[in-house]
């Protein structure tokens, strides 16, 4: 959870975390109800199974002071929600449900089972509520990713072509084809897409070239030719892969890039970079 902090929220951290964690789902409420049911109606063995962990969870994970205490030792802001996984909701709620069904017999039991199914469905948030998207191929990446990979190798003179791609392709390409090198990694890309890219960042020695590439690709910024080409040379980036709807095509042509190929939805632009790299063979590691 990126937007909650123990430092800012103090004892309200737990409730903020729980709001994000549960969303509109009612299963945590059902867990508490099942716990009460087991406490009141369950036999000794069942009570011993579910009540101690419920109490322990209340004293620790759900204790508003607990995150404040452990935040002194570890930075738990982003990952505290994983402690909620310790709550055996998917064990106790079904158990409680079946226990209720066991009280009925025959047709009444069938009706109760149906009612319970409906309740569980309508008090949750169905994973495929916006439709089920079947993967296009066994690799579970869009066919276009495979097509772009094939085309890059077709037009490239080296085994490891280096490219700058749009965000989603940047994140998927190397899962399918690790021989393709990418100019920008995950964090730099996310920072560049999420926040405003300042002039200072684009001129920084550390990641300046990367920010320039992201600014052009994702924000459509038209940088001075010298600055843009410096970024391409500085990162040894030979290819720009953009979707056909991307409006930077004219800019890329003005910068001297040429169209190298095209798939159904994407266009490959090429820049004659002076130096190409292959980190898989040219580094200190492979030299001993």
């Amino acid at each position: 959870m990126q937007n909650v902090s123990v430092y800012q929220l103090g004892i309200r951290f737990i409730s903020a975390c729980l709001d994000y964690y549960n969303g509109m789902n009612a299963y945590l409420v059902f867990y508490v109800a099942s716990l009460l049911f087991v406490g009141l109606k369950g036999d000794r063995k069942v009570r011993e199974i579910f009540l101690p962990s419920g109490i322990m969870l209340l004293l620790t994970v759900y204790n508003p002071f607990f995150p404040i205490l452990i935040d002194r030792f570890f930075d738990i802001n982003k990952e505290y929600y994983r402690f909620f996984w310790l709550t055996p909701i998917t064990i106790l709620v079904p158990y409680g449900g079946v226990s209720v069904l066991e009280m009925e017999e025959g047709k009444k039991k069938m009706a109760a089972a149906f009612a319970l199914t409906v309740i569980l469905i309508f008090t949750g948030d169905y994973i495929y509520k916006n439709g089920y998207t079947k993967a296009e191929n066994p690799y579970k990446v869009p066919n276009e990713v495979i097509e772009v990979s094939r085309m890059l190798h077709q037009v490239s003179e080296v085994e490891t072509p280096k490219a700058m791609m749009e965000y989603d392709f940047n994140m998927m390409m190397r899962q399918y084809d690790p021989s393709i090198l990418l100019a920008v990694g995950r964090e730099d890309y996310i920072n560049g897409v999420t926040y405003e890219i300042t002039e200072e960042q684009m001129n920084s020695k550390e990641n300046g070239f990367l920010y320039r590439l992201v600014a052009v690709m994702m924000r459509g910024e038209e940088l001075e030719k010298e600055k843009f080409l410096e970024a391409l040379e500085g990162t040894n980036t030979e290819f720009f892969v953009i979707s056909k709807g991307n409006l930077i095509q004219d800019y890329l042509i003005d910068m001297g890039l040429t169209k190298a190929g095209e798939t159904k939805g994407h266009i490959l632009y090429r820049y004659n970079v002076k130096e190409r790299e292959n980190p898989y063979v040219d580094n200190i590691y492979t030299n001993f």
């Binding site: 101690p52 996984w85 079904p94 690790p178």
Partner: protein, 356 residues
Amino acid sequence: MGNTVVCIGMIFVNFILYLSFGSFLTRFLKKEVFSVSLTVLVGFFFYYSLFSIVCVPMMIRLRPLSELSKIWGGLVIFIVLLSLLFHWKMWAGAAKGIGEFIKGHWIFFLCAVALSIVQVVVIVNAYHFTLDATFYVGTVSTSVYTDRMNIFNPYTGAWQDHFELRYFFATYPIHDAIVCQITGIHPLIETKTIMSSIVILFTNMIYYKIALELWGEKKSSVWLMMFFAALIHFHYITIFTSANFLLTRTFEGKAIIGNVVLPALFYFFILILKGRDSWAYWIMLFFICVGSNGISTTANMLVPAALGIYMFPLTFLKKRWTFIPKCLACMAPGVVMMLLYVGYVKGYYVLYTYIR
């Protein structure tokens, strides 16, 4: 079609491996009937415990992936043959027992199998775009392509001068890389179809085991409990829930921690509470804890916490103070891993990817 056959074949092969490894632990349960499901479950974690012990030193020594493939491949063949030699009678007896069980409870068996298979088919055929896949699957692809382990950045392919310790000890993706290197299966198929299917089957298996402990011979109640658990998995969705990890990020170690390891710890809590607290059970629990650290770094934090929450109350319930040192022993691997990571973050040490 060919791809489906390969995937189903690989799932069977994996289960045979887990059965072979797990039998070395469950064979000590001499007073009880040999349980294939318990053996496979425990075997999975025992397998990954041993794999981490072999893999980590080789990564530190910067050995190529192919060398690890040969060593691990050889070791696995040896252990499977050894297991066959020692346990074939147990397995034959279990096969007979399973046959009788299916004969006696064929409706339950068909319903349980159908429930699991429907989930596998629905989940592994869905398309999801998740950012973290870039790292987890990218690590497998990059390791196979470069024949190196964790040396190159999976996001870009750039060389890294030191190991990222956050992921270093979670060797699960490296194991996938070995399987891909040996079999020639593409990393995306190994991670997103084969291992994902195994995780979903394990999730159902552990819910079956728990339901069995709670409902005993009432098979309709056991199945209903499995069904309601599955229903909740498909509906308890925000980007943070373990159910969401099971359905959209099944190939990540975190999905295994949230959906297999934590319910497994709860299952062992039930077993021990019911008096099955012999050394053999504690050793199995210990290997679940060790193996989970090799699957995901998340286990370093969650497994000791889960042991504290589920197991410590047992000491008072059963009035058995000897449970405390046993619990602490199970917590120790996670705590050690956590301290190793904290040491790295604080800058006490770095593991470089080249000889300095």
